[in-house]
Structures are given as structure tokens and as C-alpha cells.
């Protein structure tokens, strides 16, 4: 089997997802048997203009000026994989989407400089066609590896669960956050991560985005009634990672 030519690209993000890659440790060398890395700015000097088999894109699409760059990647890549929440749903970057004074807040008098072009934080798929997505903030490295393995084997359709995080949380036998007097977004959050947050004693913040047809109304109610969040908070709760999924987005 010829090695699959892979390239990595990044846009507005914390680059934490690529760090997750290095966390495999030694087994990462195994993966290198199957793929050839042709571009990866953070770790290598080479760049390429040649066609690539798989382009991995991290980060959100936050400024029009990035569109052309993304299109260029799309043209060269047979398969485009968006990975991490920033790239798949806008992630934490979208937390500012409902405000318009964010530039003033951070840059004060400089805010109107033309180069401060930053519009709504959107997923990569808002600019170009994306073939596969690896969700999560950070992405789950085992899920990433699983999906890359499937791609390397030429799988037509990568299976990723479409149910909420509660399913995985329950399978682990984790004590529900609501039983501990806390709140949680697990009931509407996209699964696939294995529900590490409730297992670690913190709420699921739905970093992977919401499931399709998420019952947002019910969530708000449950946050207030069972999670005891004040109304003001309950109404804003899903802005954190899922601003782009809200009914008012």
C-alpha cells in the first residue's frame, strides 16, 4: 500500500488538537508507516504545492481573507478532514458571534484598523466542502486515529455516533452531574469523546457541538429546574461551544 500523503493546516485555533497528536507517544511512529507528512508548519519547514491525499485542517474560518487559502487547499486535496471543534463548528471562537463590540473591548482605539478583519467564527465547511470531521475541544486522539485508519483503508463512510454524550457517560457508569447538584449539557451534546468531563467531575460543555434535532427548549428548562441555573445563565449557557447551533444563531 502506497503511503497516504497528508498535510496539516491551521486557522484560528489554539493548536491544541495537533498537540494531542504528539500525545500518542511511541505508537505515533506506527502511524508514520502508513502516512507521509508533506506539510505541517508547526513541526517542519517543507511546504508543498503538489496534490495531497488528505488535508487536515484545524481552526475556524473567521475572516474572509482566509477563504482563498482554504479554496487552494481544497483544490489540491483529494480528501479534506476538519478536526477539532474550531474547524468543525466554530468552537469556542463562536462565543463572540452574538456581540459586535469585541474588537473595541480588546483593541480599544485600534479596533477599527482595517487589518483587524474578524467576522463571525464559522466552521471550515462554511468556506469549502469538508469530507470528514473529527470533533472535540480538544479532539479525542483515539477517535482521530480511528478515523485516519479508516481513511487510510479507503473507507467510504466513517462511522461516528450521532447520539448525545449521556449515552457514553452512562456506559461508563459515571455519576450524573445532576445527581451531584451540578448541571450538564450532555443530553444535547454530540458524543464520540467517551464522556471524559463528567467522569472527571465537571459538566459536559458540549464542546463537540449539539446533536441533530437537539431539544434546546427542554435543555433550558432542565438547566433551570434540575441544574438550578439562574435564568440569565441558562439562556446563555449554550453559547460557549455551541453558539452556532443555537436557534438564534
Amino acid at each position: 500500500m502506497a503511503k497516504v500523503k497528508c498535510a496539516w493546516f491551521d486557522f484560528a485555533s489554539c493548536e491544541g488538537c495537533q498537540i494531542e497528536l504528539t500525545n500518542y507517544g511511541e505508537p505515533f511512529v506506527e502511524l508514520l508507516q502508513h502516512i507521509e507528512i508533506v506539510e505541517f508548519r508547526e513541526v517542519m519547514t517543507e511546504k508543498t504545492e503538489a496534490p495531497i491525499d488528505v488535508a487536515f485542517i484545524e481552526g475556524s474560518f473567521t475572516r474572509e481573507s482566509d477563504r482563498a487559502k482554504l479554496e487552494r487547499i481544497r483544490d489540491r486535496a483529494a480528501v479534506v478532514v476538519a478536526y477539532g471543534s474550531c474547524a468543525t463548528c466554530g468552537g469556542i471562537n463562536a462565543l463572540k458571534n452574538h456581540t459586535d463590540d469585541y474588537k473595541q473591548e480588546v483593541y480599544g482605539a485600534d479596533a477599527d484598523k482595517p487589518h483587524l478583519d474578524s467576522t463571525k467564527a464559522l466552521p471550515i465547511s462554511a468556506a469549502i466542502k469538508v469530507d470528514y470531521e473529527v470533533k472535540g475541544c480538544p479532539m479525542d486522539k483515539d477517535e482521530f486515529l480511528g478515523i485516519v485508519q479508516q481513511l487510510v483503508h479507503g473507507t467510504a463512510k466513517v462511522y461516528v455516533p450521532s447520539y448525545p454524550v449521556c449515552v457514553e457517560c452512562k456506559r461508563r457508569g459515571t455519576v450524573c452531574r445532576f445527581d451531584e447538584g451540578d448541571y450538564c449539557l450532555g443530553p444535547i451534546a454530540q458524543a464520540g469523546c467517551g464522556a471524559p468531563c463528567p467522569a472527571d467531575g465537571i459538566p459536559c460543555e458540549a464542546c463537540r457541538g449539539m446533536v441533530q434535532d437537539a431539544n434546546q427548549k427542554s435543555m433550558e428548562k432542565v438547566l433551570m429546574e434540575n441544574g438550578k441555573l439562574p435564568e440569565r445563565w441558562a439562556k446563555q449557557k449554550t453559547r460557549m461551544f455551541t453558539a452556532n447551533f443555537r436557534e438564534d444563531a
Binding site: P27, E30, G146, R172, E180, G186, P187, I188, N215
Partner: protein
């Protein structure tokens, strides 16, 4: 049936002797709840637990189980049971296990389940504290509590141990058991009777009444109403002792050649459960959450009655507690349907 007695001071010695022979899976505390887990020390054992997050079948039917592995050339079976003791199982959960045993042996024997099941000795125990949603005293009364090997009932100063099978009998030598006196045996019966009567929640009708009414309310609008807040999150059936559906997926090994076929507990409340590809597109036979919500109750209260001789709900109340939207409680739902 042989009725023995073991005093409080000897119980730990008995459990430790069991632990000396192999794994003992028993209820232990986890924050505000309890879970069945392998005992590391006897001090962790919590026989006065109310109920556990997941049912005890996790001991032989893990939430994710390898079925078959493939090394690139040849497929190999993953059946590989270890002898173990499942300790401290409440009567309603014993019923639940008996039901899964039936599901996994009817028409085709599922050895991946049964091999582990047979390697497990089950020691039941009486309910000392009720889970806030328990209603086992008013459901599934037609189904006998069977399939366990020994049963411990909390009485003054110790436990009455009912020995039910040869496997149970074999355990007697590991602890300081004596014969139970008539008074102790009588107290045990009373304790178990009281546990049934004191459940905090209650169904008002017989299983047959419920089954018939359920079937006839299939097309009622009430399902829509009841499921309005449902998240399709599957918590209610993931925690259920009588639910047994699963998904099967293959996973590649890191070498990219070997693969493992695993099954994972699945949930019919999730939207993807009943999706089917049709002529290249995708069709969902239970697309609405109300349909899925109804399917669960139909299965519990109507569909499986014939096979089991009673409903597929043992009244543990786990689903009621697991549902963050507070809508999965069978007592509330069934009583509501019965009022219609």
C-alpha cells in the same frame, strides 16, 4: 432450600475468602451513588446500597465487549470467561439477570454472553435501603426471582443465607455459616416482604391490565405529550437491567491490518438506532422521539410479556433517576396511560 446464618463479624471473613479465590464484583460507593465494581478491599463493600448506576449484568456483559478478533489472516473467537462472584445483587436485579439469560439463549445461544454468565456465581442480598424511585413491589410479580446461587437477608446481628444451588452450597465452606434458627428464617421472610411493601413508588394495576391498555393506546396522542422534553439521550435504557440491545462495530488495530469486532450497549431511544438505508437514501422507521419513547414502553410493558410471562421491567427505578428531563419514570407514564 437450605437456610443458614452468618453473623456480622464473620461476613467480612467470608467475603475475603471469596476474594481469595477470584474476582468479587460487588456494590461500592461512588460519590452520591453506587456501582458494581471489583472489590479491592472488603471495606468498600456497601450491602446497604440503594441501587447502582448500571445494573449488575456489567459483571458478565460489559458495556463494550470484544466478539471476534482478526489478525490479518484468521478470525478468532474472544470468548474467554473467568470464574467470579457477583455479590450483593438485589432481588429485582436477579430477575433482570434471569431475563437477559433468557433473551441471550432463546432461539440462538449467545455464548459471548453465556460463557461469562455461567462462570459467575451470584450471591443476592436483601434491599436494606430503597432507591427513591423504586417500585419493584408492584411490578413484574409474575416473574420468579431465580438464577442466583445464594441469597443473604439482613437480620438482627447478621445475615440469613439461603442456599439455592450447588454453586451456592460450595460457598458455605468459605465462611462461618451455621444453621438459621426458625426465628431468624421468619425474620428474613418478613424483612423481604417489608422491602416489597415499602417501595416509595407504586403501580396501581396488574401486568395484564397494563399490557392490554398499552397495546390499545398505541395511537394515542399521549405519547407526544409525554415525550415533549425527551432528549433521545438513551440514559433510560442504558441503565435498565432488562434492556439488552447492542451495536456492533469493527475497529482497526494500530498496525492497520488487525481488527476487532466489538459490541456496545445500544439504545433504541437514540435517533440513529432505527435508521436504514433505502435505495441509497436513509429512512428512519422511528423518526419521531414520541415513537421511540413509545417503543421503549411498549417493549417494557407489552411486547416482551409473552416471552417472559411478565413485563420487562423489574421496578428498580433507575430510569426514573437517570432521566435528566424527569419524564422516563414508568410509574408516572404507566399510571398516566391507565387513567386515559
Amino acid at each position: 432450600m437450605k437456610r443458614c446464618y452468618i453473623s456480622d463479624e464473620h461476613l467480612n471473613g467470608f467475603v475475603e475468602a471469596l476474594m481469595g479465590r477470584g474476582p468479587v464484583i460487588a456494590p461500592v460507593a461512588k460519590q452520591s451513588r453506587f456501582v458494581f465494581e471489583k472489590l479491592e478491599t472488603v471495606d468498600d463493600l456497601m450491602l446497604d446500597y440503594d441501587t447502582t448506576i448500571l445494573p449488575p449484568k456489567v459483571a458478565f456483559f460489559p458495556t463494550k465487549q470484544e466478539l471476534v478478533t482478526f489478525d490479518g489472516k484468521e478470525a478468532k473467537s474472544c470468548i474467554n470467561p473467568t470464574d467470579q462472584v457477583l455479590f450483593g445483587v438485589h432481588p429485582y436485579d436477579i430477575k433482570g439477570i434471569a431475563m437477559s439469560d433468557k433473551f441471550y439463549t432463546d432461539s440462538h445461544v449467545d455464548e459471548n454472553y453465556m460463557a461469562n454468565r455461567r462462570a459467575t456465581t451470584i450471591v443476592g442480598s436483601s434491599v436494606q435501603k430503597h432507591y427513591k424511585h423504586a417500585f419493584f413491589g408492584s411490578v413484574c410479580m409474575e416473574v420468579e426471582v431465580i438464577g442466583h446461587d445464594m441469597f443473604l437477608t439482613r437480620v438482627a446481628g447478621g445475615y440469613v443465607a439461603d442456599v439455592l444451588t450447588d454453586k451456592g452450597e460450595a460457598l458455605l465452606g468459605l465462611g462461618q455459616f451455621g444453621d438459621a434458627t426458625d426465628a431468624q428464617a421468619g425474620e428474613a421472610d418478613q424483612v423481604n416482604q417489608a422491602a416489597m411493601e415499602n417501595c416509595p413508588e407504586k403501580l396501581e394495576n396488574t401486568s395484564a391490565q397494563i399490557r392490554d391498555k398499552m397495546r390499545s393506546s398505541f395511537r394515542s396522542d399521549v405519547w407526544e405529550e409525554l415525550s415533549e422534553d425527551c432528549f433521545s439521550c438513551g440514559s433510560c435504557n442504558t441503565v435498565c437491567p432488562t434492556c439488552y440491545c447492542f451495536d456492533v462495530q469493527d475497529e482497526w488495530g494500530l498496525d492497520g491490518v488487525s481488527a476487532t469486532r466489538c459490541r456496545t450497549w445500544d439504545s433504541c431511544l437514540t435517533a440513529e438506532f432505527s435508521e436504514v438505508s433505502v435505495q441509497g437514501g436513509c429512512e428512519n422507521f422511528r423518526e419521531q422521539r414520541a415513537e421511540r419513547f413509545r417503543h421503549r414502553f411498549m417493549r417494557k410493558a407489552a411486547y416482551l410479556n409473552e416471552q417472559l410471562g411478565g413485563p420487562a421491567c423489574v421496578g428498580c427505578g433507575r430510569c426514573s433517576g437517570a432521566c435528566t428531563a424527569d419524564i422516563a419514570n414508568p410509574v408516572v407514564v404507566i399510571n398516566k396511560i391507565m387513567e386515559q
